[in-house]
């Protein structure tokens, strides 16, 4: 049986800690390498923070995080009911400018992109957003039943 688990909550940014705890506990349950768990935690925390800060404008809103096995890959999904926004189209900051000379902030998507192998966006018919993150070849073949 492929592994799958989810967390659903009405969240504000105070709840990001619960999201990270969920990632850490799920990573342990799935038998993932600690270094990979750290990358998954970073990517999902950053994506969830963007939803809560920009999508919901710091008001409470629905957030669902799913972590699942798809064959040898680990897939993370973050769904929300905020206004539609495709973060995969957001332009990255100009990293040729040294950090202290850039405006503060704006590094979240750069950290996300560096922490995973693939990121896709889907717009559900029922509204909101679904961001899909993929880490390739995470599961060994003996465990890759999905």
């Amino acid at each position: 049986m492929p592994l799958s688990t989810s967390l659903s909550l009405t969240a504000t940014k105070k709840d990001l800690i619960e999201v990270r705890q969920f990632i850490e506990e799920t990573g342990d349950k799935f038998g993932l390498d600690p270094e990979l768990i750290a990358r998954v935690r970073l990517a999902i925390d950053e994506a969830a923070a963007n939803v809560l800060e920009h999508g919901y404008q710091n008001r409470p809103g629905m957030l669902e995080v799913v972590l699942k096995q798809e064959k040898a890959d680990l897939v993370g999904q973050i769904s929300d009911k905020a206004f539609s926004f495709d973060p995969t189209l957001a332009p990255p900051p100009d990293l040729s400018v040294p950090a202290p000379l850039r405006s503060p902030g704006g590094m979240g998507l750069t950290l996300i992109r560096q922490a995973l192998d693939e990121m896709r966006y889907e717009k559900p018919l029922t509204g909101g957003n679904c961001l899909i993150m993929v880490w390739r070849n995470v599961f060994h073949s003996s465990n890759a039943a999905g």
Partner: protein
């Protein structure tokens, strides 16, 4: 395990007086403003040299980078125009390290976040508390 941020403050005497923030927990989107606020309070109370002890910080997101950047700007705010120009030249040629803000013992994951974003280019990273305090002058 993920945990909320707690900050305790101590004063150390090296070549100059140094304020040390001992951080425990995660620096994320819900806690970075508290770090900025405490840095602002310390600055307004006369602290000009700040060492952030990250030994017990397991997680830092881009919100933590935002806080570091804002604290860096705050501590540089009083510099003369000539000093600011010199700093900018140093940043552009990669030779500048902040004399006012330094970091102690970031974890492997926090270090990766600092290097991905280029923050390790202008913030000194120390592994020994005494040497870190004495490096301010």
């Amino acid at each position: 395990m993920a945990s909320p941020l707690k900050i305790t403050v101590s004063q150390e005497q090296g070549q100059v007086p140094v304020t040390v923030f001992h951080l425990v927990g995660d620096i994320d989107n819900s806690s970075y403003e508290e770090l900025q606020a405490q840095a602002k309070s310390a600055y307004q109370a006369g602290s000009h040299y700040l060492l952030l002890d990250l030994t017990k910080v397991k997680y830092m997101s881009s919100a933590g980078l935002r806080a570091l950047h804002n604290i860096f700007d705050l501590l540089n705010a009083g510099a003369s125009e000539e000093t600011q120009k010199k700093m900018k030249r140093g940043i552009l040629d990669g030779s500048y390290k902040s004399p006012y803000l330094k970091l102690l013992n970031p974890s492997r994951d926090v270090k990766r976040t600092l290097s991905t974003s280029g923050f390790d280019m202008f913030l000194e990273i120390h592994t020994n508390a005494k040497a870190a305090v004495n490096s301010f002058n």
